[in-house]
Amino acid sequence: VLRFIVKRIAATVPVMAVVALFVFSLLYIAPGDPAAVIAGDQASPADVERIRQGLGLDRPFLVRFGEWFWQILQGNLGTSIFTALPVSGMIAQRIEPTLSLMVVTLLLAVSVGVPIGVVAAWKAGSLLDRVIMGFAVLGFSVPVFVVGYLLAYVFALQLSWLPAQGYTPISAGIGPWLENLVLPAIALGLVYIALIARVTRATMLDVLSQDYVRTSRAKGLSEGPVLFVHALKNAAVPIVTVIGIGVALLIGGAVVTESVFAIPGLGRLTIDAILRRDYPVIQGVVLLFSFVYVLINLLVDLLYTVLDPRIRY
């Protein structure tokens, strides 16, 4: 297994190199000019040109890519064009809110999505099943920002139970930290809950028709252990896969959620960087997200061996 892990981590290097080239090339051909944004609306064309030269944006593609790639190899993500701060520092500053949001959302989604998926499969065809699947369709269909605004309106403005925006670091206490994350996590988690519930239901339906389930019931086991111990364990591989895939959904959703709830995380950093054409920041964040995604896929692959002893690498 250790050899597999090392091999997989080593395999991320060419993946990251391709991502780096792809991101850099896309940004190079994309319209927009950070020099124009920095210069401001009243700047003269000569000012813009001078800033562009100062930033080295007038140099050829290969020179700029080579310089940036060399920096990356040395572990340096570069400096923000707009703030003149190191990109790694800016990312470090923003990582806690995003990580917090993703962890709370993930816990919420798994703890809600899996049980309701199991129940829906158990009561397949019943009213309860239809209600759960109806909820799942709703979760898929309603955009994150609509859910976000509705939650903020009801729970922040009308009931004053929770704040409408912002983020409190975990160092200020679990209570205040969680208070700011409840609404964003529900808004972001809805689509994820729907996805997990549907996959869990479909997989469980298949497993529940297996002979060993009938046997365990015949042996007198109650429904709880049958569903959650025997059946769910055997349905776990596709569910874990979809949880892993869903992290990509979370990353995309976090960008919108952080804007709606004014959370100073990586999602907002990405949007701001794109609007300002702050190339080093965009490149740094995309590289980080790609790396995280590759690692999560690795983790999912490793979990397969735990969940299904037949799988070996």
Binding site: Q42, A46, A156, G166, A262
Partner: protein, 477 residues
């Protein structure tokens, strides 16, 4: 945004008050020689930077050198400068080759770049390179450790700040801070900002969108009012380098067909108090405002416009109209312009894009078919349009002019006349000539004057209307 934050951290030698008159701020006195060629300034005693060092004349000189390399008025002074030197710790001298009557306005204006004073070692940074140390002598110090770029900036009261004794008036007078800490939170979403203000999570919202103001006005403990009486001037610029707008007749045809009410309604809806027709280029209700030559904008005449277009060199080519969709103002203006051009009988190539792309594309001088453009929309802060001093968009000096590169010697002559004007009457005469010439040559197309709102919690007192948020004199119960 940077200018607004900077006004807390850095102080200026002079400050423009709410009557638009330059007043002494860090400066204690000034003397100008009888021939108008030598200015001798003196600093107020007891001024300190946030690092505890005293503010000295050498810091002022270095700051003015940096500022004058970038600012349009600074560049004019630099062009006629003999020397700029510190005479002693509190005195500096600026000698010129010809008189510059607008010296105090240049040092007091609130348009970026402002002549902020910083320590000499920082001011010596190349004028086109961002400074990395934020040490000023203003009433608040920047809490850099709490800065989350794009999300939050924190300012703490500077205990050693020495305010003037006069009452505060915009950037002039005593900048007394009544709060110890300002948390400046950036919220990208207006609905979130509105909820935060209604919920009491924030105290003051700088720029609520018009659509949300009725909700805010109905909320208990929230007050909404006009933010800046100087407002904004909407505009679209035509590219004078390429057909069809290289022909003044085509530009005049567009201006003749233009109805400013269409633009303003698209932006502010039915709120009549938020807009005014603007038959000219300068901020209404200010001392130098003029409507000279504004007849062309006072009454829309589509038939006359079509006739003018028929007499012009327009050959049916598409007008490449670049419109930023991520800015509500330019989006609204762009939709109206597309309709206007079609009514006029012109073909439109509507390029819907974002502001970042507009910023890059408008700098292209190539023909529209090769990545250039014919038209883009923007707006100008009314504070920038009081006179020609900081009004980059009104200049018509060809290659050196703002995007669109208008070339009109008579506009430039009127600008020079204003700079040289010795008194208010002469300034007004120059402004009238300038307004007429800029309209006749259609430097750009003004789409109207509009105002915006600000909103705050009712326990916050002392908020004034102005071109930037002034935090001095503001208290929170």
């Amino acid at each position: 945004v940077v200018r607004n934050a900077a006004a807390l951290v850095w102080d200026t030698l002079y400050g423009l008050d709410d009557k638009l008159v330059p007043q002494r701020q860090m400066a204690e006195s000034e003397e100008v020689s009888a021939d108008g060629l030598t200015w001798t300034f003196k600093l107020r005693p007891g001024l300190k930077f946030h690092d505890g060092e005293p503010v000295l004349a050498k810091d002022v000189v270095a700051s003015l050198v940096r500022w004058s390399a970038r600012d349009p008025m600074g560049l004019m002074i630099r062009a006629i400068q003999n020397e700029l030197v510190a005479v002693d710790d509190r005195t500096w001298l600026w000698s010129l080759k010809k008189p510059y009557p607008k010296m105090l306005l240049a040092l007091a204006k609130n348009n970026a770049p402002c002549s902020f004073v910083m320590p000499e070692r920082i001011a010596k940074t190349d004028a086109f390179t961002q400074i990395t140390e934020y040490v000023g002598s203003g009433p608040m110090r920047f809490a850099r450790s709490e800065w989350v770029p794009g999300a939050k900036a924190v300012f703490e009261r500077f205990a050693d700040y020495a305010p003037r004794s006069e009452p505060p008036s915009w950037l002039a007078g005593g900048k007394r801070m009544l709060v110890d800490r300002i948390e400046w939170i950036i919220m990208p979403d207006p609905a979130t900002a509105s909820a935060a203000l209604q919920n009491g999570e924030v105290d003051w919202w700088e720029n609520p969108i018009t659509d949300l103001v009725p909700v805010l006005s109905k909320t208990r403990n929230v007050v909404a009012d006009i933010a800046d009486p100087l407002g904004n001037i909407g505009s679209f610029r035509m590219n004078h380098l390429h057909p069809p707008f290289n022909d003044p007749k085509v530009r005049r045809a567009v201006l003749t067909a233009l109805n400013q009410e269409d633009y303003m309604r698209a932006l502010v809806g039915d709120e009549d108090k938020l807009w005014k027709a603007l038959p000219g280029f300068f901020t209404p209700d200010t001392p130098l405002y003029t409507e000279e030559g504004g007849e062309i904008l006072k009454m829309r005449n589509l038939e006359a416009a079509k006739k003018l277009l028929a007499e012009s060199s327009y050959a049916g080519q598409p007008v490449v109209c670049v419109v930023a969709q991520d800015q509500p103002i330019t989006k609204a203006f762009g939709d109206v312009t597309a309709d206007l051009l079609k009514q006029l009988g012109m073909k439109v190539d509507f390029v819907a894009t974002d502001w970042g792309t507009v910023g890059a594309r408008r700098a292209q001088k190539t023909p529209p078919a090769q990545g250039g453009w014919n038209m883009f929309h923007t707006w100008h802060a009314g504070a920038d349009c009081l006179n020609p001093s900081s009004y980059t968009a009104i200049r018509a000096n060809g290659d050196k002019a703002w995007f669109g590169w208008p070339d009109s010697p008579r506009v430039e002559a009127a600008v020079t006349e204003w700079f040289d004007a010795p008194d208010l009457a002469a300034e007004k005469a120059a402004m009238a000539k300038l307004n007429r010439a800029a309209l006749e040559d259609v430097v750009y197309a003004p789409t109207g004057f509009f105002l915006g709102y600000q909103a705050w919690r009712s326990n916050v007192k002392g908020i004034v209307k102005g071109p930037l948020p002034f935090f001095w004199g503001v208290s929170k119960a």
